[in-house]
């Protein structure tokens, strides 16, 4: 029987990893993700989880350890935050190029300088083009569920790709919430044991992983990974259908809509601040503002078709940017360029703009969302957006 527990995002992650019967875990401490490793270390020490628990000498070593372990056929787990995520950068592409379904938790943290412990999506978003799946959780429950869903998708023989499973540092990783923890039988039904197929290190059948290829093979190798991402949406939908059936949930595979019936303006958002956005939308509706929220569950693969179809129904879309792209085409964050690209070919397009918010762990308050709604309503009235990016709370009136 499933049981309800009160868990932080990190503790929920540890429960999911345990139920996924992970074989090899590699840790290195950095706040805030490290709380998940503390839980897992306890589970291994107390014999609740039969896994190799290895301390890396740093994040580069962490990723190298799980790379090797995954090549040897193990189900693996690692994680990091902030500058730890970027320190391991070199190893991400080799893992996805080798088509090894390593899983890494990222509890976001602002990058230096200077040191800031707060949540911001820039650490993970800097790695979004390394051939890994990537998506955010809004709550400890969604974090728990996403770990299981990602193992299932990543290890599918049609996919065989690593996954970044992200949650906002502190807002999700350290604030406890109710989590429905399923029993082992349900998890086993959803997530079969990892089968690496013939793609595994075996001393009796020597294989060479990561050998040199010729320059004229480079494009072809990249095409293989690109093709895997083209094939991904069907596998994601299958996995989410099975997940919803077995665990009695109601996840949309890619894009969740909240109070969008009759909405004219919507917030487009991912991760923990969506929890605040829901309250803001409810309050705005009570005041007669036709607001709604659309939440993105996967940044990679980016659900171009779904985002286009959903967002084209509204008059104005405000993208809440929780990562930075200095000098980028929209002069703000990373999501608005993707959103505009998804809408470009459609006959009917909403007005779109973006709001820089929640950087460096800053809270995005209800008041901030009301202010954003005001900008969006003004854009609808004027029939155009003033600019592509607003810095929430810092714009001169």
């Amino acid at each position: 029987m499933a049981k309800e527990m009160t868990l932080s995002g990190c503790a929920a992650t540890a429960q999911a990893v345990k139920l996924a019967k992970v074989d090899v875990i590699c840790s290195y401490p950095i706040r805030p993700y490290t709380a998940a490793m503390m839980e897992l270390a306890k589970m291994v020490a107390e014999g609740e989880l039969d896994a190799e628990f290895i301390h890396g000498e740093g994040e580069h070593a962490q990723l190298s350890v799980v790379y090797g372990a995954s090549a040897a056929g193990a189900r693996t787990f690692t994680g990091s935050s902030g500058v730890g995520v970027t320190y391991a950068m070199e190893v991400y592409s080799p893992i996805s190029g080798a088509r090894l379904p390593v899983q890494m938790m990222i509890a976001d943290r602002a990058l230096d300088p200077p040191g800031d412990f707060g949540s911001e999506h820039t650490d993970a978003m800097s790695c979004r083009d390394q051939g890994w799946l990537m998506g955010w959780a809004e709550s400890p429950q969604e974090a728990f569920d996403n770990h299981l869903i990602n193992y299932r998708i990543g290890e599918d023989r049609r996919v065989m790709l690593p996954q970044f499973v992200c949650q906002d540092g502190y807002f999700v990783s350290h604030i406890p919430g109710k989590v429905l923890v399923p029993d082992q039988g349900q998890v086993d039904e959803f997530l079969p044991p990892y089968d690496p197929g013939s793609h595994v290190l075996d001393p009796k059948k020597p294989m060479s992983h990561g050998p040199q290829i010729r320059p004229d093979q480079g494009t072809i190798m990249d095409l293989q990974r690109a093709q895997a991402f083209l094939d991904l949406p069907a596998v994601v939908k299958e996995a989410i259908d099975d997940f919803n059936r077995i665990f009695k949930r109601s996840y949309a595979p890619f894009v969740e809509e909240f109070m969008t019936d009759g909405a004219e303006i919507v917030f487009f958002i991912m991760g923990g601040h969506a929890a605040t956005a829901r309250h803001a939308v409810r309050h705005l509706r009570e005041q007669g503002v036709k607001a709604g929220m659309v939440k993105l569950r996967f940044v990679r693969p980016f659900p171009t078709r779904e985002v286009g179809e959903v967002l084209s129904r509204f008059k104005a879309v405000g993208v809440v940017e929780t990562s930075t792209s200095y000098g980028g085409s929209m002069r703000g964050g990373n999501l608005l360029p993707e959103v505009r690209a998804a809408l470009y070919a459609l006959p009917r397009r909403p007005l779109t703009t973006s709001f820089m918010a929640g950087l460096g762990g800053d809270v995005v308050s209800l008041k901030d969302f009301y202010w954003m709604a005001g900008i969006l309503a003004g854009a609808v009235q004027a029939g155009k957006v003033g600019k592509t990016v607003y810095w929430t709370g810092l714009e001169r009136a």
Partner: protein, 108 residues
């Protein structure tokens, strides 16, 4: 959907059966500044160099009962010297050898 010429095909995940032979388009021996030299009298065939070499430049010659070095691909990292269990391996400067590869014969 895509037309991939067979001679350029890449195996899934770039995994190949090993060893399949040498890659003549990627000679790395000319990167070397120092080379490992072996004293076969001291070597007890512990195989550390064979296992640790990242480029499979040490191989066991069964007939001769000794390990042999591949000069074409050894980059001179000297991991083998570090891992040798019987001090049978030392390092020597490339300039000390008539066939030393300190200077590139052609740009790579």
């Amino acid at each position: 959907m895509f037309d991939i010429p067979q001679e350029r095909a890449v195996p899934f995940g770039c995994v190949t059966p090993a060893p399949v032979g040498e890659q003549p388009m990627m000679i790395t021996g000319n990167w070397r500044e120092y080379r490992p030299v072996i004293d076969h009298e001291k070597c007890n065939l512990c195989m550390n160099c064979v296992i640790f070499c990242p480029d499979a430049c040490w191989q066991l010659d069964d007939a001769e009962e000794q390990v042999v070095w591949n000069a074409k691909y050894c980059k001179g990292c000297l991991v083998c010297v570090n891992e040798c269990s019987h001090d049978a391996l030392g390092k020597a400067y490339e300039l000390d050898f008539p066939d030393g590869v300190v200077r590139l014969e052609k740009p790579f």
